[in-house]
Symmetry: C2
Subunit: 240 residues, 2 copies
């Protein structure tokens, strides 16, 4: 069985300048793996409309789903919604359903729904809103692109809103063996194991702690019995 | 003055599956900013030769420099060097200079330069080696692509080796103002400020701590006096 595929597009100068460390990629990667959707590519681009449009078009054509993070707030550098609309040649306006959510929220909290905040109700025609229980201003799904906020608490809440609506595949199971040997010592037998279990993904991830080299070997697959069999063989042949 | 541009290509299933949190992107972003090179795009792809080849070709054509991370170790899933060679249609063999480094290293440490480890001496024709003071096996620069290891300690050491050899631009200066107001409250005056200082980049980054919303406003530019002037105006107009 082939799982649905996904790509992520992170939008934000602050990641590329090194000012902020992105955490949304790691969160989404873990959630998609649990849901049986294979994350195949991530791109990070700046707050630049042509860059966003080009990336969205390429990724939407290549993968089952695209998840974006960032650029949907109220300020001048929040241009993601417009760029997504342009990528699909879709009109975008302040939509009544999104405006009603914001009106109710600011009425409740005593804030003002000013012109800047009203930008957050700009939603492309035909898009479905993504619920934002943290700060109300919604994300949206247009075709196979799911547009979410960059603030991690909001991004994570939106992921939790949208993932249950998507058809997942069979979750990928994984087992890890940690060996206190360098990759170069175990690369030979590991290659043989990978040849013998072509249905599994066998990765080796070197680490270095206090000057000692070791390797985590991770075996991944959808069939638990096969993962077990490969892990047993690995433990006999490679570990000491 | 326009600074040189850069893209980064992170290669590794372990990032996309959520098993590992990438830290090389953040490190490189900070180092490039200090060096006056503008990081414009990052892509993360899996250990898949066609995906690596396509990404390298696209990024090498679009930016002054490309920096890659991951996939140059001794195991079966380390396919980056071959993929880079293929991307530029360049022959790749075990090269004497790289082999000599490894031979000396394993002689010194009592390890064995077996067939798997010898893979780490496979370097495309015409590439310049990148020094690896941590674990010796070198990276390399082929045309405008700088190929480095994924283990953070090694990646960081290789960045330190290669960056001083590249022509940098004028470093980007930045100042940050933290205000305890939501983005929506300050978006209006911030847009006016951005219009008045078109030579500067003015970003606003919302945060939420203990249920309180606030915003970091970051002004970036190459001319310190202009950044100062914009920050003074900002502090008068927006902060309370």
């Amino acid at each position: 069985m082939t799982n649905p595929t996904a790509a992520m597009l992170v939008i934000g100068d602050e990641i590329l300048s090194g000012r902020t460390r992105d955490s949304n990629m790691h969160h989404l990667a873990q959630e998609l793996t649990k849901h049986g959707i294979d994350l195949r590519e991530v791109r990070v681009v700046s707050d630049d409309a042509p860059a966003i449009v080009a990336a969205v078009q390429a990724l939407a054509a290549g993968f089952t789903h695209v998840f974006t993070s960032g650029g949907i707030g109220p300020t001048h550098d929040d241009i993601t919604a417009e760029a997504i609309a342009r990528a699909f040649d879709t009109p975008i306006t302040v939509r009544d359903d999104a405006r009603a959510l914001l009106e109710a929220h600011y009425k409740r909290t005593g804030g003002t729904l000013n012109e800047a905040r009203l930008r957050m109700a700009r939603i492309p025609d035909g898009a479905a809103l993504i619920d934002n229980p943290v700060s109300i201003a919604p994300g949206f799904s247009l075709r196979n692109v799911h547009v979410m906020a960059g603030v991690p608490a909001v991004f994570e809440a939106m992921v939790a809103s949208v993932l249950p609506t998507l058809t997942g595949g069979q979750p990928v199971l994984s087992q890890t063996l940690r060996v206190n040997r360098g990759e170069g010592d175990i690369a030979g037998p590991l290659g043989v194991l990978a040849d013998d279990f072509p249905d599994l993904s066998i990765g080796s991830y070197p680490f270095q702690i206090n000057g000692v080299f070791g390797t985590n070997i991770v075996i991944r697959g959808q069939d638990g019995a096969r993962v077990d069999a490969a892990m047993t063989r690995l433990a006999e042949g490679v570990a000491e």
